[in-house]
């Protein structure tokens, strides 16, 4: 059995995935076939944003990951330079 917290976080992740997928697919794949005056259109941004929004998110996400890697690696490099040459890297880590 998973704990209550595991189930809660897991369920939230599933819901985020499901809602994102349904909303975006409707927007991109269904809306072009819906009449422009239909009330459903009011819940979605204009057409060009189907590319702009995920495009910006992609650029932002990739930049964030690159920045994370850069930060960690430069910090490690500085720590290594500061440490004495013979200092052991004493971090025993359990399996992931």
């Amino acid at each position: 059995m998973a704990t209550a917290a595991d189930k809660l976080v897991g369920t939230v992740l599933i819901l985020i995935g499901l809602i994102t997928f349904l909303y975006y697919s409707t927007w991109v794949l269904v809306l072009p076939f819906v009449d422009p005056s239909h009330p459903l259109q009011a819940y979605f941004l204009p057409r060009p944003y189907t590319v702009i929004v995920p495009g910006l998110l992609l650029v932002g996400g990739v930049s964030a990951i690159a920045a994370f890697f850069y930060l960690i690696k430069s910090r490690a490099a500085r720590a290594k330079a500061a440490a004495t040459p013979n200092a052991p890297a004493a971090n025993k880590v359990k399996a992931t």
Partner: protein, 243 residues
């Protein structure tokens, strides 16, 4: 080649570093598991000159259980896991090698299940998995589990290894298979465990899995920092590009 069950001998490699508290307990559990099923076994303790005098405890255990069951192969300093396996294989007299952690996170009660699974279809490798059936982990909070699940999902997606737990280190190998894999693998840490499975698949070795419960009692040590994440990602990319 189907082996004669009575002739099988299992060599457990136990690399230790400051495991004075845990070593007698894990050895006791190992002996109990092997004796209950009348398996032929030896426990090879590879101590990297622990400051807490783990070796003194190991010597006591050797006099208690006998030199044919407890084998001491200490090394002068902390030299890492990969070389510990190479060192252990050299001295192992069994035709099967079992690798596991000495800190009690891997329970010896699963070893008879590993052996039964191995004999089912003469598998080359039997790997313990936390991600199937009754497998799991104790002592991890939500974020630790989430990181573990994400890391495993990424590895599954990128490498498609046909094995559910790539980073576990509780496994049974045929001795010659482990020796062959040790020649191939270049990674360190848990990327090393991952590479062993991926290379085994490429070389055509057969693999089966047994669900295990992983009990993390050493809360402080299991923290995952940014550097571990980066190392893991780099290892994954290396295997993605090279296998």
């Amino acid at each position: 080649m189907a082996t004669n069950a009575a002739a099988d001998k299992y060599s457990v490699l136990l690399p230790t570093y400051n495991e004075r508290e845990n070593l007698p307990l894990i050895v006791w559990l190992l002996v109990r598991a092997f004796e209950a099923h009348k398996f032929n076994y030896e426990i090879i303790i590879i101590d990297d000159n622990s400051p807490d005098q783990t070796i003194e405890v190991a010597k006591q255990l050797q006099s208690l259980y006998g030199e044919h069951h407890i084998v001491l192969r200490p090394r002068p300093g902390k030299l890492g896991l990969g070389t510990a396996y190479i060192h252990g294989i050299k001295h192992a007299t069994g035709n099967f090698i079992i690798i596991m952690d000495a800190d009690m996170s891997h329970h010896p009660k699963f070893i008879p299940q590993f052996i039964a699974k191995q004999r089912e279809k003469d598998y080359d490798i039997v790997s313990g998995t936390r991600y199937m059936g009754d497998g799991g982990a104790f002592g991890w909070d939500v974020s630790r589990k989430l990181i573990s699940r994400t890391a495993n999902y990424l590895a599954q997606t990128l490498l498609r290894p046909n094995a559910s737990d790539l980073t576990g280190s509780f496994r049974l190998y045929k001795k010659e298979v482990l020796a062959r894999l040790m020649e191939e693998c270049v990674s360190k840490g848990y990327v090393f465990q991952m590479e062993m499975i991926v290379r085994a698949r490429l070389l055509g070795f057969t693999l089966a899995e047994v669900p295990i419960s992983f009990v993390d009692r050493v809360y402080g040590e299991s923290k995952l920092g940014g550097m571990e994440v980066v190392t893991y990602a780099e290892g994954l990319m290396y295997l993605f590009a090279n296998t």
